[in-house]
């Protein structure tokens, strides 16, 4: 059972994600995580001023339970099911990131510069998290879904809107990764 404590291969991760989708479908629900951000807005009363949030958000409570589970799953995965969490990256990527001052590439799970506790007092890290978070939240809703809703659920259901959204994810991702992030980090 030692493999459990090592990082899991793609052929374990991918099928388990498909299993999560199957379990939700069998529960008469759909697999889509970004809807929760809309639910949170609605639960805080955004529906009073904005029609987009004026719906029966209580019918989406099951999905909030799913993300609470994901929170606990992250905790279990990190604290109880991992002996070491360094991500084994391609050597070219490690070199590239070191040039961008991400010095812990290949030795950590997340870059300390963005996600370590020191970033609370680093305006640049905070701005990156804020801008990136904003784009993710805005873009997911504008596109009608995120990686789970479009790239997994939607494409599995052979939906053209999902294919177009996923092409958009990669256009945006490649622009950021290849042309912008070098100036930002």
């Amino acid at each position: 059972m030692n493999w459990i404590y090592d990082p899991w291969s793609w052929y374990i991760g991918g099928p388990l994600i498909a299993l999560v989708m199957l379990l939700l479908l069998l529960s008469e629900k759909k697999f889509g995580m970004s809807s929760n951000l809309r639910t949170i807005c609605a639960a805080f009363g955004a529906g009073k001023s904005t029609p987009f949030f004026d719906y029966d958000w209580r019918s989406q409570r099951w999905n909030i339970i799913v993300i609470l589970g994901a929170f606990v799953g992250g905790l279990i995965g990190a604290k109880f099911l991992s002996t070491q969490t360094a991500v084994d990256l391609h050597p070219d990527v490690i070199l590239q990131l070191q040039e961008l001052n991400i010095v812990d590439a290949g030795q950590a799970y997340m870059p300390e510069r963005l996600f370590g506790s020191a970033s609370w007092t680093d305006w640049k890290s905070l701005s990156i998290l804020a801008v990136g978070g904003f784009l993710v939240g805005f873009g997911a809703r504008y596109a009608g879904g995120c990686t789970s809703g479009h790239a997994i659920s939607g494409l599995s259901n052979l939906q053209l809107p999902s294919l177009i959204a996923v092409i958009g994810f990669f256009i945006g991702g490649i622009i950021m990764n290849h042309f912008l992030i070098g100036y930002i980090l």
């Binding site: 374990i12 991918g14 994901a70 995965g77 978070g133 784009l135 009608g144 959204a165």
Partner: protein
């Protein structure tokens, strides 16, 4: 009872995202650099199985846990917004390396600055709702 079921599905999802490194900023960076098969393997294998699952449910009329027919709704066809929104999402995904699922997984794993990401993602969703009528769809 159903609440517990959703909670357990969520735990399975969270452990999977963390342990398969799909929640790692580094893996997303590497994916957009096309330097590793890992993320493509995860998304690709989930997708291949997802197609088999979804199409089987539709073709064979598989019933839910509660004995009801399973209805899988089509995605709304608003192709402009799928593309423009997708590009905006991709810009953010490649910058902070986290989409909405991993946000919660990473918070559980103890990366507290992700709270900033979470707050602004919610704000982004809110602003989309405010501006919806003025955006091309």
């Amino acid at each position: 009872m159903r609440t517990i079921r959703y909670f357990i599905i969520g735990i399975l999802f969270g452990i999977t995202l963390f342990k398969s490194e799909a929640a790692s900023w580094f893996r997303i960076y590497e994916m957009f650099q096309f330097k590793s098969f890992h993320m493509y393997g995860i998304i690709g294998s989930a997708l291949v199985l997802g197609v088999v699952i979804t199409q089987s449910i539709k073709r064979f009329g598989i019933k839910s846990f509660y004995g009801q027919p399973i209805v899988i709704a089509d995605k709304e066809k608003m192709l402009k917004s799928n593309l423009y929104g997708g590009i905006v999402f991709g810009l953010g995904w490649a910058l902070v390396g986290a989409c909405p699922g991993p946000i919660f997984v990473l918070l559980g794993a103890g990366y507290l600055p992700v709270l900033v990401l979470f707050f602004f993602a919610t704000l982004g969703t809110f602003l989309y709702g405010k501006l919806k009528k003025r955006l091309p769809h």
